[in-house]
């Protein structure tokens, strides 16, 4: 995940032992400060589990949001920059598990979307939801064999009363992806 040619320069900042942050500036219509955060959540399935957070920071308002869709037309460069930090994260923390979710996969997102959306989606099929995790899944599906040489992937599916985590299967509609490094 660190063979990308076109990525942004990043700045690293470690916050104690349970948080690692990367900062970069997305260039396009306007400059946007982006923050990637790896935050320790809890011990899970024998691993210290970290969550990947990502969002835009507005220096003037001091607002940090993971809901923005910026129009800098650099989404591949941004995605590759985020993915490039994953091996760096594992180099620092080693034998840990990483969890990736999208902020548009929550039930509240779908509820809020219904209020303003002109599309006539049915209750179980909001077309604007799950787009963020789909980007990660799409990349993983495309590069699964190569990435599996170094990493173990699991996918999480949401059901009414539980979330099922299983060995990653390509083209499944997971709402969370889990990554750990092969020893």
């Amino acid at each position: 995940m660190n063979d990308f040619q076109d990525i942004y320069d990043i700045s690293q900042s470690q916050q104690g032992i349970d948080s690692l942050r990367y900062y970069f500036v997305s260039k396009g219509e306007k400059d946007i400060i982006k923050i990637i955060q790896y935050q320790y959540v809890k011990q899970f399935n024998g691993y210290p589990l970290f969550n990947l957070g990502f969002g835009d920071y507005d220096l003037e308002t001091e607002n940090l949001s993971d809901k923005e869709i910026s129009n800098n037309k650099d989404h591949y460069k941004v995605l590759h920059t985020i993915l490039d930090t994953i091996p760096r994260f594992f180099d620092i923390y080693g034998d840990v598990m990483l969890m990736v979710q999208g902020s548009d996969s929550k039930p509240e997102f779908i509820e809020n979307c219904k209020i303003n959306c002109s599309r006539k989606c049915n209750d179980n099929d909001c077309k604007k939801s799950h787009r963020r995790i789909s980007i990660y899944r799409g990349f993983l599906d495309k590069n699964f064999e190569v990435l599996s040489e170094k990493y173990i992937f699991k996918g999480g599916q949401g059901f009414e009363d539980h979330n099922l985590i299983e060995g990653y299967g390509k083209h499944q509609k997971y709402n969370a992806v889990f990554v750990s490094k092969k020893s």
Partner: protein, 51 residues
């Protein structure tokens, strides 16, 4: 009458300096607290499928 002028000065900061400034500003801030809670909730309901 004294007139106070409020001039805005624009300065150019190198990108690395800007990011260092943001990092310093957010040093003690809790970022994405809702994501952390969502992750905890997700894991609370997690069941692992064994092969």
């Amino acid at each position: 009458m004294n007139k106070t002028e409020n001039k805005k000065t624009v300065v150019t900061v190198p990108e690395s300096g800007l990011l260092a400034l943001v990092a310093a500003k957010l040093k003690d801030a809790v970022l994405f607290p809702e994501k952390l809670e969502e992750a905890k909730e997700y894991l609370k309901k997690a069941k692992i499928k064994t092969a």
